[in-house]
């Protein structure tokens, strides 16, 4: 787990940061691209999205995503592209699939169960 920490030092010791030059001219496309970069994990950082990160890999990915947005690829395709290369770990919002089923469904089951308990209480209270 911590190899991300250790290996960040293998990068160029030159700090990049979000460059205004990276932004796309078309503000609509830029908004889309920005949103995607906010949902992509910086792999060599600690719980940051690539939008927030100054790591070179994050910059490369930001550029790549903007390029793809400009070329007209839909969001889903871009997420898929990144996932194929770096694995699910790169998605900050876990995708809805078999292994993440419980992650997405359980909170709603909790919620329904909670509502059920409340109504049960309410109903039984009327019997007094």
């Amino acid at each position: 787990m911590f190899f991300t920490l250790v290996f960040s030092i293998f990068f160029l010791n030159e700090a990049y940061s979000v460059d205004p030059e990276e932004f796309l001219q078309n503000s609509k496309l830029e908004l889309r691209a920005r949103n995607i970069t906010k949902n992509i994990r910086c792999l060599v950082c600690q719980n940051q999205s690539i939008d927030e990160s100054s790591a070179p890999l994050a910059k490369d990915l930001r550029l790549l995503i903007r390029e793809k947005v400009e070329e007209g690829h839909p969001d889903s395709e871009i997420y898929k592209f990144l996932e194929e290369r770096y694995g699910e770990f790169i998605l900050l919002k876990p995708s809805f699939n078999m292994s993440n089923f419980a992650l997405w469904i359980l909170p709603f089951l909790f919620l329904f169960f909670g509502i059920y308990v409340i109504f049960l209480h309410n109903k039984k209270s009327k019997n007094f």
């Binding site: 719980n47 699910e88 919002k93 292994s99 409340i118």
Partner: protein
């Protein structure tokens, strides 16, 4: 020498904790009190002594102590030498033990004259928990371990952690976590109790209140300080990142919130006792689980500075022991605490029940999100991330009904209320909400669904408090002779805390929905407009701090009328000792907004990357948290009355 004394003191603390545990197992009343007096005081004194010894070792930079060598440096300012004591794993365990001993002492001091078997049982559990942490410290995390040869200087520590908010953040959190240990001990002691008489048991629940309030109140402010630190130090204008370590403190807080409210129901209506017992147990278990997640190194993030699997296994075993014991006890013995009557939906106790259930659901969801990647990785080997987008889409919607109920709660009386009557009562609220919401949305000048929901919630909670206050004031006078029960009464503490929540929601909503951001490249002399402000990049200077060098930008901020508002000086620091660099954002705060500037990379030819944020109403988040804290303190004062508790 001092370090040896410190080490010896931990062993003595262990001895006293052991004495307390063993003596609490005995049957002879007089003997136990005598032993426990010595044990509780001895434990307090020696855990304090060992802690002071460690502080001393840090102040004099005694690098023969490995822990000091690892985490301090001679050039560090004195205050950060001291805060470095709990800025690392071993030292923070010592603080944890000290806080345990303090709470242990108070349990003994406040209640040793009342209900004997109950207090003895509480002290027994408290001693057991303390023993667990003492053994943990001595076996895996002794802060007084020596090294030889003695190094010339220390390894410093992360400059990002050299910060006043972060210096007091851990002690506040520990009061919270450890405070729940007292709740845990009381809960187990109540479950162990043989007394079947309801009245006597209710008094025991009252003993728990000041401790629970202390824990929850300090946890609240501790989390707030962590957030403030993240806000200005991490340089992204955000204050909550759903980092696993943040979650670790958020989960006990959620259950603590449910616990605080359930205790009110126990006091006023003698109901929800079972809930209190369970929530008290779970709050503490989650505090320890949080420690496990952070300290075992199983998660990696800014805070997770400990990486040693043996620690993780120890804590896990400890959790397993106290968890199995307390929960088994709960399932076996809690039946007699069941409510004789079911709670109605539309009543104050009903709103507390709904709050409990939602807090548990939110807590369970946060827990799921935090541990899910670990589960997936250990079963399939795949790594997944559960980040901010998940929590925002799951937790936020589930929280909304809780906040709606929270608004209406104060309007309800303790007994059943008619729905049409409630609607009629709420009519002025609806008008208030409508006007207030329109006003805020008009001010921000743009529509956003989340913004709208947030503002409505804020207005809803606020309006209910205002109108309840008004009706309380006029009704109490005219209806004094009539049944008081029907008048919804609210206490000052609740009023303040709930206003705090309303303001917190306002700040959270406005700053996340209506934040404005500019990221541009600027040369000195250039300027940029952000939301009616003109920001001029005046100059860039090199400065030298106590243990760092920095590039400091000078930015002048003018308002619409070209009047100078403020000068902002964001910095890029380099700490030559560890070759770390940090960005220090510069922030100008007023009641309406924060202006937040971060200095980025670049050079004089191309200019520098500058990030400017216009964050509306951020200060209300901190004011809100402060009000919740104050509400807690007031409630603590009102509830602390040992003479009333004597049986």
């Amino acid at each position: 020498m001092i370090a040896t004394l410190g080490n010896f003191s931990i062993w003595l603390s262990l001895l006293f904790a052991f004495t307390q545990f063993v003596s609490s197992l005995q049957k002879n009343n007089k003997k136990i009190i005598k032993f426990n007096t010595i044990a509780a005081i001895g434990l307090l004194l020696f855990s304090m002594l060992s802690f002071l010894c460690l502080i001393y070792s840090y102040i004099v930079s005694d690098f023969s102590v490995s822990n000091v060598f690892q985490n301090s440096h001679t050039t560090k300012p004195l205050i950060y030498k001291i805060s470095a004591v709990w800025g690392n794993h071993e030292g923070s365990m010592l603080l944890w033990i000290l806080v345990l001993a303090i709470f242990n002492f108070f349990i003994f001091k406040l209640y040793n004259k009342i209900n004997f078997s109950f207090v003895t049982n509480s002290l027994k559990i408290q001693a057991f928990v303390t023993l667990g942490f003492l053994f943990f410290t001595l076996l895996t995390s002794n802060p007084f371990e020596k090294i030889f040869p003695v190094p010339e200087n220390g390894l410093g520590f992360n400059p990002i952690l050299q910060d006043p908010a972060l210096a007091i953040h851990p002690p506040l959190l520990y009061i919270g976590y450890v405070g729940f240990s007292a709740a845990f001990s009381f809960s187990v002691a109540i479950l162990l109790g043989k007394d079947k008489k309801l009245e006597n048991n209710i008094l025991l629940f009252d003993c728990m209140r000041p401790f629970v309030l202390a824990a929850w109140t300090f946890l609240t402010i501790g989390i707030a300080f962590g957030s403030i630190w993240a806000y200005y130090e991490l340089g992204w204008g955000g204050w909550w990142f759903w980092d696993p370590v943040e979650n670790a403190s958020f989960m006990p807080w959620l259950l603590g919130t449910a616990l605080v409210h359930s205790l009110i129901a126990v006091k006023k209506k003698k109901i929800l006792q079972k809930w209190v017992l369970l929530l008290a147990i779970l709050s503490f278990l989650l505090s320890v689980i949080g420690t496990f997640l952070v300290r075992s190194g199983i998660l990696t993030s800014v805070h997770a500075f400990a990486l040693d699997p043996s620690r993780g296994i120890y804590i896990l075993a400890f959790i397993a022991i106290i968890g199995t014991y307390s929960l088994t006890l709960f399932f076996l013995n809690s039946k007699k605490f069941s409510d004789k009557k079911y709670v109605t939906f539309l009543s104050r106790e009903g709103s507390i029940l709904i709050n409990n259930i939602i807090m548990i659901i939110v807590c369970a969801s946060v827990f799921l999100g935090t541990v899910y990647p670990l589960i997936i990785e250990s079963f399939t080997g795949n790594k997944i991330s559960v980040g901010e987008p998940y929590y925002n889409s799951i937790v936020v919607p589930i929280m909304i009904p809780a906040l709606i109920v929270m608004g209406v709660g104060p309007l309800l009386s303790w007994n059943d209320i008619n729905f049409t009557k409630l609607l009629k009562n709420s009519f002025p609220n609806f008008i208030f909400v409508f006007i207030n919401t329109t006003f805020f949305v008009w001010i921000f000048g743009s529509f956003n669904i989340f913004g709208l929901i947030g503002i409505i919630l804020f207005s809803w909670i606020l309006s209910n408090i205002i109108f309840t206050l008004i009706s309380n004031y006029s009704l109490i006078k005219s209806l004094k002779a009539l049944n008081k029960n029907k008048i919804p009464k609210i206490t000052n503490s609740m009023l303040i805390a709930h206003v705090g929540v309303a303001l917190l929601i306002l700040g959270v909503t406005a700053s996340s929905v209506w934040q404005k951001e500019k990221i541009i490249r600027m040369k000195t002399g250039e300027s940029i407009k952000i939301n009616n402000y003109q920001v001029v990049f005046k100059e860039l200077n090199e400065i030298k701090g106590e243990n760092y060098f920095a590039l400091q930008g000078k930015f002048l901020v003018y308002d619409k009328k070209k009047l100078l508002i403020t000068e902002l000086n964001p910095e890029n620091r380099i700490y030559p000792i560890t070759n770390n660099s940090t960005t220090e954002a510069a922030i100008h705060t007023n009641l309406k907004r924060d202006l937040y500037i971060v200095l980025g990379d670049g050079n004089s030819d191309k200019g520098r990357v500058i990030r400017i944020y216009y964050n509306p109403l951020v200060i209300w988040i901190w004011i809100g948290a402060l009000l919740i804290f104050m509400g807690g303190l007031i409630s603590m004062k009102n509830n602390y009355n040992p003479s009333k508790n004597s049986i």
